[in-house]
Amino acid sequence: MAKKSRIITMIVSIAVIILLAIATGLKNNDQTKSISVPVTVKNNKVEKSLMEPLYFNPVGENCSYTIDIQGPDALVSNIKIMTASFNSETVYTGQSGNSTVKTGDLTVFDNGMLVLFDPEVKEGATIEDSEYTIRYGIILDSNGNSFWTISMLVIVTLFFIAGCVGMSFLANRNVDRDYDERQVKARGTAAFNSMLITILVALALPTLSTLTGKEPFEPFEYGIIVCLSGILVFIMQADLNDAFVGMKEKRMPLAIIYTVVGLIEILVSIVECVMAKSNVQLYTMISGIFFLAMGIEMIVKAILDKKEAMADEES
């Protein structure tokens, strides 16, 4: 029964991941937003007011904006488009009155984008003191290939995980995989702690972002961090209490693979960050840290187990 439910869970999980990957690949990348901004003019000057920047999440390396501006003829709008990453860069600046502006291709490398408008009175023009409204219609067109940039990463990771699971099944096909009473208890405690950590991380990241006013991660990166934190806590705590996860015996090859993959992913993401000057490979670094932590934990556990067994033999 337990074996059957394990297989069903695995099939459902793989199906969900594949469907998500396909959905991401097929997703229309166009995003449209429109806002009306009240503008107060006094003594032929626009009274400055705080205007929330508009957030967009283009997919792919490049994107372009088409901005339609409608308002009084005497007013012009300064347009600024910048990346919403921790090392924010301005990718477009321009000024326009009542017209349609096309930004052309902007290189954004999957970063979130912020669009800011700052209206002012056109040079040489006069306008009566009053409150006016400017309407901005923004169309984002991401022309990067989302399927190759994001979905392929998910699919490659999926195949890697499937390979590891297959390897653990093959290596442990004749091993009794039942947990004893202490291991079941350890898994329960680990699951509870994992849930606590998941909730804590899920609440802490947005709270920190709100407090600092910075958004270092994309929404999907938040998701990955939250999920991996919970999984990592469960696996490490359960495994350190001998309630193995996945493989019971012959674990060293898998531990070495995890460590190597983790190190490669971290190195690739660092090189990419330095070369592209962006956080494009942040998700690679996150999963790299996850694999490295698992690999190191498995190696440390193996050494501790060996020492313990040897001490018992000697005594």
Binding site: D180, E181, R182, Q183, N241, D242, D305, E308, A309, D312, E313, S315
Partner: protein, 66 residues
């Protein structure tokens, strides 16, 4: 508190932790945790250990000081 009675009973039969664990149907680490006093086994597991070592519950798990 360490369970030295269990350790000595196991040593008397020249069994390693792994061999006793295999007889009882638990992991080696569980036997180690019981001997070190890190884990309180259930009565069922205590009985299984006693049967494997040919001892009674009193002989292995009864604390004389109490």
């Amino acid at each position: 508190m360490k369970n030295l009675k269990l350790k000595s009973a196991r040593a008397a039969l020249d069994l390693s932790q792994q061999e006793l664990a295999d007889k009882v149907g638990v992991s080696r680490q569980t036997i180690n945790a019981i001997e070190k006093g890190d884990y309180n086994p259930t009565v069922n597991l205590c009985i299984a250990i006693c049967k494997a070592l040919g001892k009674t519950l009193d002989e292995l798990f009864w604390d004389e000081e109490e």
